[in-house]
């Protein structure tokens, strides 16, 4: 039986991780705009996910300026799958 993951349970973090499954990596501002959050909020969630090795970031260049690229780690992908399965189970059990 799948279990909810405390590191992913915050809705914004769940949304961030699910969005990252649609890309190999994404530029920080692209993710920020898609999530409609501030730089600091995104940084906070990223730091939490990096802390448990669910996401990673690297420095790069976008449109000629230095920026940060974000991606989901394999561990993060597995954790997300398990968390989503638990959520679906929760929804299914009641529905």
């Amino acid at each position: 039986m799948a279990e909810l993951d405390a590191h992913v349970v915050a809705p914004a973090r769940l949304k961030l991780m699910i969005m990252l499954t649609a890309v190999s990596e994404a530029e920080f501002s692209t993710v920020r705009d898609a999530l409609k959050v501030s730089d600091s909020v995104l940084s906070k969630h990223l730091a939490a996910l990096e802390g448990v090795n669910y996401a990673k970031r690297r420095k790069g260049v976008h449109r000629g300026r230095r920026t940060t690229w974000i991606s989901l780690t394999p561990r993060g992908g597995k954790a997300l799958q398990s968390h989503v399965a638990a959520l679906r189970q929760l929804i299914g059990d009641v529905g």
């Binding site: 949304k15 994404a26 959520l87």
Partner: protein, 189 residues
């Protein structure tokens, strides 16, 4: 550190709203992805040129045909590199699937279409049927471009399934194997 007091057991309705909202955001991100101008057309044209120049180079290896063969390869690498860089700059994202499935043609149908067109072009070139060789090259390039568009539609409908392609190490291995095979064909001819 994670706040241990954080509630980790949402109600079913909450869970449903969160999940639907997150999946809608992912779908919106995938729908919003744009390809640079002439993306598929230029890749298809570069593939057609590469098939044609390689077929001629293999059928009659000489300085006059091997130079265009190398130029065809270089043109394909340049077009692919430029278009992928434009894609990344335009969207602020990177899709490994786009590189492997669309540009390197690891998608099954693209591989088959390329193989058939390439084989046909080589056979036609050996038989000096130049119009057939050109037709095979164009068909191969057109199929590549159409299958690339098909991949993008598939990506938009299921982004998580299609976003990531094969590993870079595997793609490098395939590329090196292809180039080595081509070099051996040229040397043994």
């Amino acid at each position: 550190m994670e706040n241990k007091s954080e509630r980790i057991s949402p109600a079913a309705t909450e869970a449903s709203v969160w999940l639907n909202d997150a999946e809608a955001s992912r779908a919106a991100l995938a729908r919003g992805i744009k390809t640079p101008s002439w993306f598929f057309t230029s890749i298809g044209a570069a593939i057609a040129a590469q098939i044609g120049t390689t077929a001629v180079g293999l059928a009659d290896p000489s300085p006059w045909t091997v130079a265009p063969l190398a130029a065809g390869m270089a043109a394909l690498a340049t077009v692919a590199g430029v278009q992928l860089a434009r894609f990344r700059q335009l969207n602020g994202i990177w899709l490994g699937g786009l590189l492997s499935r669309v540009v390197l043609g690891t998608e099954t149908l693209a591989s088959v279409a390329y193989g058939v067109a390439f084989g046909g072009a080589i056979w036609a070139a050996f038989d000096t049927r130049w119009s057939l060789m050109i037709s095979c090259s164009i068909i191969g390039g057109a199929a590549y471009a159409l299958l690339g568009r098909r991949w993008l539609r598939a990506y938009r409908s299921a982004p998580a399934r299609h976003a990531r392609g094969e590993s870079l190490a595997w793609l490098a291995l395939i590329t090196v194997a292809g180039l080595t095979g081509l070099a051996l064909l040229l040397l043994n001819h």
